[in-house]
Symmetry: C2
Subunit: 267 residues, 2 copies
């Protein structure tokens, strides 16, 4: 999917919402466990219920991988089920030496046909470039993450006065372009989003951490928007686990609609 | 597997060798492709041929993941086939927010029953601690990697005079102990191994990059050994792809034996 198509979705739906498909076999409504593929059935109903309010879905690969080979089958069925016009992100946080990164890129961009994959930058340039050579596919690189310890290393001060995440954003934004690279900046770091925006005025930012993790939506949008809006804001648990009974999907729809409405007020 | 058992293997076999099981469907001998599970068949023969010369196997997860669900079945069969006394490392380079790292830990330590998993440190303490709570399991954290761009960020100078990788080693060695944590230091960075050893005199180091990537064995051992030896040295492509015909396994055995002999000279 290209940049124009993402922006088109944002305007059509008046939404920046990405729904995180962290389908946890221990958290989905128990009645689903009797079905043949409970994880896919959960996702299918969540997708049906939320697809009008969101512009992206982000399966967290850990939750599928933990189920063994059948988890990957549930993942494949989920990807195939997501409507084509909605952006898909493999939240995988990969990154390895060149020949291995090539394999990971093939996995997510070809085998599973995701539009984007999240990447960890620690191994440097040649661990990331293999992902940048696919047309209309996106690398979403960790910059400043939403977890409590996110700052442990990301905010270390370098001898030139920069923080580590700033150096990483500067260098990686030169490797790719704003047509194939985004950065992850946690919603729990709303004050820092402004700083990131000055470093990469044109790039899209993927912002997780709204909802369960406590990030503030208004602050994120005010600090992070650019002229194309340039934000994809993820919420996982506070949408998909809104209910735990037969009506879980309609409760997820309500939660997604509420966030979408709030977003549309700020757009 | 605990530390004493690893050291016991090293002395019994007079070897530090880890064989990297980077089984690539495009590189394995073509005659295997006619079999039902070519990847497992390849690994099985490699394991039979090399198990007397090595103390560890390290499947590179990217190569299995790229094959879709059936790749994970090949991986499971491979793990089950490796003799119990040999250390197993999932080369996965994972790391995510706490609840997700928990899933990854479960995947590699329980679902697939690996002894160890490689981890990327960028997300900080709470992305790593979930892996440290499993008894007799190991976290192997990236410090200084063997790829050409490894130094891009890892060697950035901090305002306190340290390089980033030194800060990471110091902080992470305090999180775990030398009984559950190792560090990755590329063989292509032999001069830096000495520096790492002074930071963590007791920890095991996993050293990839000997062979295809050009690292020097003697220099690695001289600079990196401690009183328990404390080194696991990985070679992948230069062993497993020694041959491309029906005799590929015996050629792999020759290559592994040669490295083991060289190692035993330095021990």
């Amino acid at each position: 999917m290209n940049r124009a198509e993402i922006i088109d979705q944002i305007h059509k739906k008046s939404s920046l919402l990405c729904v995180g498909l962290d389908a946890d076999i221990n958290k989905i409504p128990p009645f689903l466990l009797e079905l043949e593929d409970p994880i896919f059935e959960f996702n299918k109903q969540i997708i049906d219920a939320t697809k009008d309010y969101c512009i992206a879905y982000k399966p967290n690969i850990a939750f599928y991988e933990a189920l063994g080979p059948k988890g990957w089958i549930s993942l494949q069925k989920t990807i195939d089920y997501i409507p084509n016009e909605i952006f898909t992100i493999a939240d995988a946080k990969r990154g390895d030496i060149g020949n291995t990164s090539l394999m990971y890129a093939d996995t997510f961009f070809k085998t599973y046909n995701f539009d984007a994959v999240t990447l960890a930058p620690y191994m440097g340039e040649d661990s990331l470039t293999p992902f940048l050579n696919y047309e209309n596919k996106w690398s979403i690189v960790l910059a400043l993450t939403s977890n409590e310890s996110g700052g442990d290393f990301q905010k270390l001060q370098l001898d030139n006065g920069e923080m580590l995440f700033e150096n990483i954003i500067k260098n990686i934004s030169r490797l790719g372009t704003s047509d194939n690279t985004m950065f992850v900046v946690g919603a729990t770091r709303a004050a820092d989003i402004k700083k990131v925006r000055t470093l990469v005025p044109n790039h899209f930012l993927l912002v997780p951490g709204v909802g369960e993790q406590g990030g503030d939506l208004q602050q994120v949008i005010n600090n992070g928007r650019n002229e194309d809006i340039g934000l994809i804001i993820n919420s996982s648990r506070s949408i998909i686990y809104s209910g735990n009974d037969e009506d879980f999907a309609s409760k997820a729809a309500d939660a997604a609609k509420l966030i979408q409405l709030e977003m549309s007020n700020f757009l």
